[in-house]
C-alpha cells in the first residue's frame, strides 16, 4: 500500500467530506481493479491547490501515464520504464529534510512542518530533457523562494545545493555506480529565488508518485530536466558553487547551469530540436526554444554571462 498522508497544508475546513471521499475511493478502487498498474498512482492522495494560469502554458498536457511511465530517475534504473516498475518498495513517508549551511535557521524538519505554511498551486510547465525530448506537465507545488525566505539565508549564501536520499535497499539503481550517489544538484541563489522555480509535491493534482521524485522535488522549467532533483533530503546554502552529479560524471557534456539552449549542442547530439512525448509515430520534431520558452522571464539572470562557455 502507498502511504495515506494527511496533507499538512490542509486546514480542517478544506477536508473533503467523508461521503465524498468514500465514494471517490470506491471509484478509484474500481478503476484500480481494472488497471492494476495504476493502483498505486490512483491511490495517491489528491491535493488542495489553486491553478496559476498566469505561469502556465496553454499547450496540451501530456497524459498522467506518459508523465509517470517515461522517467529518468537513475536511482531506480537507467531504462525509461524502470522508475515506474521498480519504485514500489520506496517509502516516501515519513520524510525529513535538512536545511543547512549559510542561513540563520537550520535544522532537520519533518516534511509536514516544512510544507505547512505554503499554499499549493498548479503550474503547467514545459519540461525539456537534455536527451532532446519534452513534455508538458501540470506540477503542484510552491515557489522555492517562499521556503528559502523562511530560513533567512545570510549574505554568504550565493548558491543552494540539493541532495537526493540514498537508500540502495529501496532504490535498486543505487546499487550500481552509474552515477556517484547520492545525486546532488545546485542553483545560484538568484535562480533558486526566481518565481518560476517550483518546489514540487504533486502532479495532476495528486501527490508525486515515487517514480517522479516523491515526496519532494525541484522543477526549474528553463533548465534541462536533470536539474530537477528528486526525493530531496537536504537543502544547503553555500558560498561556493556546489558540485552537481551530471557535471561531475561528464564535465564536458553537462555544465552547472544546464539552461535549455538550442544554440549550444550537447557534444554528442543536437539541442536544436526536440521530440514532444505523447505524439503519435508521425509527429515531426519541434524546434527547441531559448530557455525552453521562458526567456522573457529568466534571460535577465544571465546578462553578461557567456552561455556557450557556461552551458
Amino acid at each position: 500500500m502507498r502511504h495515506r498522508a494527511t496533507h499538512p497544508a490542509l486546514r480542517s475546513s478544506e477536508i473533503t467530506p467523508e461521503a465524498v471521499y468514500v465514494n471517490r475511493r470506491a471509484i478509484l478502487a474500481a478503476a484500480g481493479a481494472l488497471v492494476p498498474s495504476l493502483v498505486g498512482a490512483l491511490a495517491a492522495e489528491t491535493l488542495k491547490y489553486r491553478r496559476n494560469a498566469a505561469l502556465s502554458t496553454n499547450e496540451p498536457k501530456n497524459s498522467y501515464e506518459d508523465i509517470t511511465t517515461y522517467n529518468n530517475f537513475y536511482e531506480f534504473g537507467t531504462g525509461k520504464s524502470d522508475p515506474a516498475k521498480r519504485s514500489a518498495k520506496f517509502r516516501p513517508v515519513p520524510w525529513t529534510v535538512a536545511i543547512a549551511g549559510e542561513a540563520e535557521v537550520t535544522g532537520t524538519f519533518a516534511l509536514e512542518d516544512l510544507l505547512a505554511p505554503h499554499a499549493l498551486e498548479e503550474r503547467i510547465y514545459r519540461l525539456r530533457c537534455v536527451e532532446a525530448w519534452s513534455m508538458v506537465i501540470p506540477w503542484v507545488g510552491f515557489p522555492l523562494a517562499d521556503l528559502i525566505k523562511r530560513f533567512k539565508p545570510t549574505s554568504r549564501a550565493k548558491f543552494v545545493a540539493f541532495r537526493t536520499v540514498q537508500r540502495p535497499a529501496e532504490m535498486p539503481g543505487q546499487r550500481y555506480p552509474v552515477l556517484d550517489w547520492p545525486y546532488v544538484e545546485g542553483l545560484r541563489i538568484d535562480e533558486a529565488m526566481h518565481p518560476l522555480t517550483l518546489l514540487t509535491v504533486g502532479v495532476y493534482g495528486r501527490e508525486l508518485p515515487n517514480q517522479n521524485g516523491a515526496p519532494l522535488r525541484l522543477v526549474v522549467p528553463w533548465k534541462y530536466g536533470f536539474k530537477g532533483i528528486k526525493s530531496i533530503v537536504e537543502i544547503r546554502f553555500t558560498e561556493r558553487q556546489p558540485p552537481t552529479s551530471w557535471s561531475r560524471s561528464a564535465p564536458d557534456e553537462y555544465g552547472f547551469y544546464a539552461n535549455v539552449n538550442p544554440e549550444v549542442d550537447h557534444p554528442r547530439w543536437s539541442q536544436a530540436r526536440e521530440r514532444r512525448i505523447g505524439g503519435a509515430f508521425l509527429t515531426p520534431p519541434r524546434p527547441t526554444l531559448m530557455f525552453n520558452g521562458y526567456a522573457a522571464q529568466v534571460a535577465d539572470l544571465y546578462r553578461g554571462l557567456d552561455l556557450q562557455r557556461n552551458f
Binding site: N62, E65, D66, T69, Y70, Y74, T78, K80, S81, E131, W133, Y176, V178, L179, S249, A250, D265, P267, R268, W269, S270, A272, R273, R275, I277, G278, F281, L282, P284, P285
Partner: protein, 219 residues
C-alpha cells in the same frame, strides 16, 4: 579455404530437408522473432512501445542488429572449436539479418526521428561522432550484403573473403556507436564490446598460431 568451403556449401544442391535446411529454417524463424514482435507492438499487440515509440523502435532494431553482427562473427570460432561445419551454412543468413536490422534502424532514424530533414542530418553526420561512426558501420556492410550471393562469391573468389573482412571494422564501429550514445550506464555496451574483443582476439590468436606453424614447417 574458408571462401572455398563457403562456396561449396552455398552451391550444394537441393531443397531436401537436410540438417542444414532445417537449421536454416530455425535460424530464419529465430532471427525474425524480434522484428515480428516489434511490428506487433507497433500495432498495439503485446508490450506497449511506451510514450516515445520512435526511440523504442530504434533501440530494439539497433540492439538486435549489433547482437546478430556478433552472432555472425561467432560462427567461425564456434565452427572451428566444436568442429561443426554445419554452422558455416548459417553465416550468410545471420549476416543478412544483422544488416536488415541495422538498415531498418537507420531508416527509422532517417524518417521518424530526423523527419527527412537533410540539412539537420548532414549536420549530425558531420558534427556528432557517434552518428558518423554508426553510419560508417552501415556503409561498410552494404557491399557485404550485396556480394553475399553465390554468384558474387564465385566471381570474386579470394577477393570475396578479403572484402568480407570489412565486417571487423563495421562491428567495431557499431560497438563504438552504441558506447558513445549511452549517457552513463555503460554496462550493456561493455558486454557487446567484450564479446567483440573476444571474437576478434580469437582470430588474431589463430592467425599468429598458423603463421608460427608455417614458419616452423618451412624452417
Amino acid at each position: 579455404m574458408e571462401a572455398r568451403a563457403a562456396v561449396a556449401e552455398a552451391t550444394t544442391r537441393g531443397w531436401r530437408l537436410r540438417p542444414l535446411t532445417l537449421a536454416k529454417l530455425a535460424v530464419f524463424a529465430a532471427c525474425s522473432v524480434p522484428l515480428v514482435v516489434l511490428v506487433l507492438r507497433a500495432f498495439g499487440f503485446g508490450e506497449s512501445l511506451g510514450p516515445n515509440p520512435t526511440e523504442s523502435v530504434m533501440d530494439v532494431l539497433g540492439k538486435w542488429g549489433l547482437r546478430l553482427l556478433l552472432v555472425t562473427l561467432a560462427v567461425t570460432p564456434l565452427r572451428t572449436i566444436f568442429a561443426a561445419p554445419l554452422l558455416l551454412g548459417l553465416r550468410r543468413m545471420l549476416g543478412l539479418f544483422a544488416f536488415t536490422y541495422l538498415a531498418l534502424h537507420f531508416l527509422v532514424w532517417l524518417t521518424l526521428d530526423r523527419w527527412l530533414d537533410v540539412a539537420a542530418m548532414l549536420e549530425d553526420v558531420a558534427k556528432r561522432p557517434f552518428i558518423t561512426v554508426g553510419l560508417t558501420a552501415l556503409l561498410l556492410l552494404i557491399p557485404l550484403a550485396v556480394t553475399s550471393t553465390a554468384g558474387w562469391m564465385r566471381r570474386l573468389r579470394r577477393r570475396w573473403q578479403r572484402l568480407h573482412r570489412l565486417i571487423y571494422p563495421a562491428a567495431i564501429l557499431a560497438c563504438v556507436h552504441y558506447w558513445w550514445q549511452v549517457k552513463a550506464d555503460l554496462r550493456e555496451p561493455l558486454i557487446y564490446a567484450s564479446l567483440l574483443a573476444l571474437l576478434l582476439g580469437w582470430r588474431v590468436h589463430r592467425a599468429r598460431a598458423s603463421a608460427r606453424a608455417r614458419a616452423r614447417s618451412q624452417g
